[in-house]
């Protein structure tokens, strides 16, 4: 994959990624195997790894690729998948998740990677990193396999918050476009607003208001607003960024995943149907592998938390080494392009523009 155009932070400088070693379904061994893959592929990455020091030291020592590339921060507790976010917020100071966010808070890393409990990670990110000035609701953005040349579309919010008003949706558009510029190297991303029909009179009141705001903001914020889009456009090519509230986005994401997994099962059943179909499957092996690779969720492992002071990449809880390496690659790329800073600047400038517009209006109405 080609690296983004803006190389301000690139060159021979080492890029440090903060990684929470704990809380994933496969334990710290999978995480260490994953960062080892990343280290082998990319000599520019360094890691701050968070978790129980003794356990991590042993795992890291086994990986030659990690020699001199990892700094371990001791954290004795682990956030479990069953822990309630409110509990973790009160009692989570000793967890590896808290510690991993601390590295972003202190500035030693721009981006943090964790495969732990999503709700707890968002809650801790909110209180430790805090929201960017001008952002009301942070969002989780994901990459969705699509018909577009870049192979993926950005969709947000997929579940940070079940509500979103028109101002939130506008902020999602700004953040999603910024992510598409830095994560997918699209100069001027096309943004669509998810609705149940593409006619402008359809849908909820906040969607109509958001439609107006986005149409007015796009020209000055370096994105092209294509208007309303429908569910079928999420994997389509009419836009690169799909904006919606976290309830709808989460249902759409899980529906898409569920449909893909059902098709994959049915395909297997079809090929196991008779001796002849088994032979066909054998001969079709390479073709089917190619398809599987194209749709493999591990290739794009990582929901990204946007709208905080710093960026958090949430890897799948069940991620294996390949999945972790994909999340680290995404974190590296965002860190290298200075994404966190660019996003903050973009939001600040949009907020200032909105305030000025408000002042202008107030003045002109005087």
């Amino acid at each position: 994959m080609s690296v983004a155009n803006d190389q301000s932070k690139a060159g021979s400088e080492r890029i440090v990624i903060s990684v929470d070693a704990m809380g994933g379904d496969r334990g710290p061994a999978a995480v260490v195997a994953g960062i080892s893959m990343s280290a082998e592929e990319n000599p520019q990455i360094g890691f701050v790894l968070h978790g129980p020091r003794d356990e991590l030291e042993k795992l890291v020592a086994k990986r030659k690729a990690l020699t001199g590339r990892v700094e371990i921060r001791d954290a004795k507790d682990t956030v479990l998948m069953t822990d309630k976010p409110s509990h973790v917020m009160r009692h989570g100071k000793e967890t590896s998740m808290w510690s991993a966010l601390e590295s972003v808070r202190s500035g030693e890393a721009d981006v943090c990677v964790s495969c732990g409990n999503t709700g707890a990670l968002m809650a801790l990110s909110m209180i430790r990193l805090r929201k960017l000035p001008g952002i009301n609701r942070p969002a989780i953005a994901i990459l969705w396999p699509s018909r577009n040349p870049q192979g993926f579309n950005v969709m947000l919010d997929v579940g940070a918050d079940i509500r979103a008003d028109e101002q939130d949706l506008l902020q999602y558009a700004l953040m999603g476009a910024s992510y598409a510029r830095n994560g997918l190297q699209l100069e001027r991303p096309r943004v669509g607003l998810l609705n149940v029909g593409t006619e402008e009179h359809k849908g909820r009141a906040e969607l109509k208001a958001a439609h107006e705001l986005m149409a007015a903001t796009g020209p000055n914020a370096n994105f092209e607003f294509v208007g309303f889009v429908e569910g079928g456009d999420i994997p389509g090519d009419v836009c690169d960024v799909i904006v919606t509230d976290g309830f709808t986005g989460n249902v759409a994401l899980k529906t898409g995943e569920g449909t893909a997994s059902l098709i994959s099962e049915l395909m297997k059943d079809s090929f196991m149907h008779s001796p002849l179909s088994k032979l066909a499957a054998l001969l079709a092996y390479t073709s089917l592998r190619r398809l599987k690779k194209r749709m493999d969720p591990r290739r794009v492992n990582g929901g990204v938390f946007l709208g905080l002071n710093g960026t958090v990449v949430k890897s799948h809880g069940s991620a294996d080494a390949t999945g972790i390496a994909a999340a680290v690659k995404l974190a590296f790329q965002l860190s290298q392009t200075g994404f966190s800073q660019k996003l903050a600047a973009r939001v600040a400038s949009a907020t200032a523009a909105a305030k000025n517009a408000g002042t202008d209006q107030a003045e002109s109405s005087e």
Copy 2:
């Protein structure tokens, strides 16, 4: 497919289906070809066909299977896909769609089939058939390919209304369960309420309220309430009926369709990649056809409008003869089981129970 247990309306009696011949993308020829397929397969069906008499007479005369099976009702106008529902409500009296609904209104048919403009069909159905007493918002239900033994799940609402409060969601549960009993022959369907998490504390206020209502109603209304389900469960096997508002349901439906169609395209690309993969595709032909048939949307062609005095099957606008025949088969099955009457009775009994519960409560609090 086995016919439902209740045969009260079956036997040798002819079942009349009202069919709108116009308004589909492929014109009346495809509709007549479709009902001809149905007539050949099932000697018990008769048709009332609505559209321009001259045109329809010529098309019907060409099909031997339709001799003596079709009554034509002349209607000179056609509702176009681009017509606004409000326009059709005011000026649509001469359309085939209006005429097709009239056959249900007059009682000569229980079920009407149309592949015309969905918005206009719902608007006309509301004013001509009227809502069932006790129903606030009618809903559109569809069948979704699933892991369940019956091969499909019911989901509603997929777009009749973008809003739904807890009472509407409860009514969707009652109507969806009734549809599953009559359309999928499930004695006691399992109903799930779509949300972003399965924990009871999650989600919007109306979902929590609907959760309580459904849990209280299920035992007396012949369905099993399984609680909250997620997007991944729509094609899954934890429930048979998925209840949601029309906004979320429409996005989920189109996301699922879009994902399936992207996978199918990518599969074709994979198999066209090299001479060897082309050979593999040739050998895998039967297996792939089997899969395609399993996922073929034409096999379950028909959204069903529920909550009206009479049932309306909305076929895909692009349906070909096979698709029309599938919609007619569904209409026949619902008509034969006396679905419209059973649904009305179910809603009336639930409404009465709710009123009594209200009275009981008032009495006991005195």
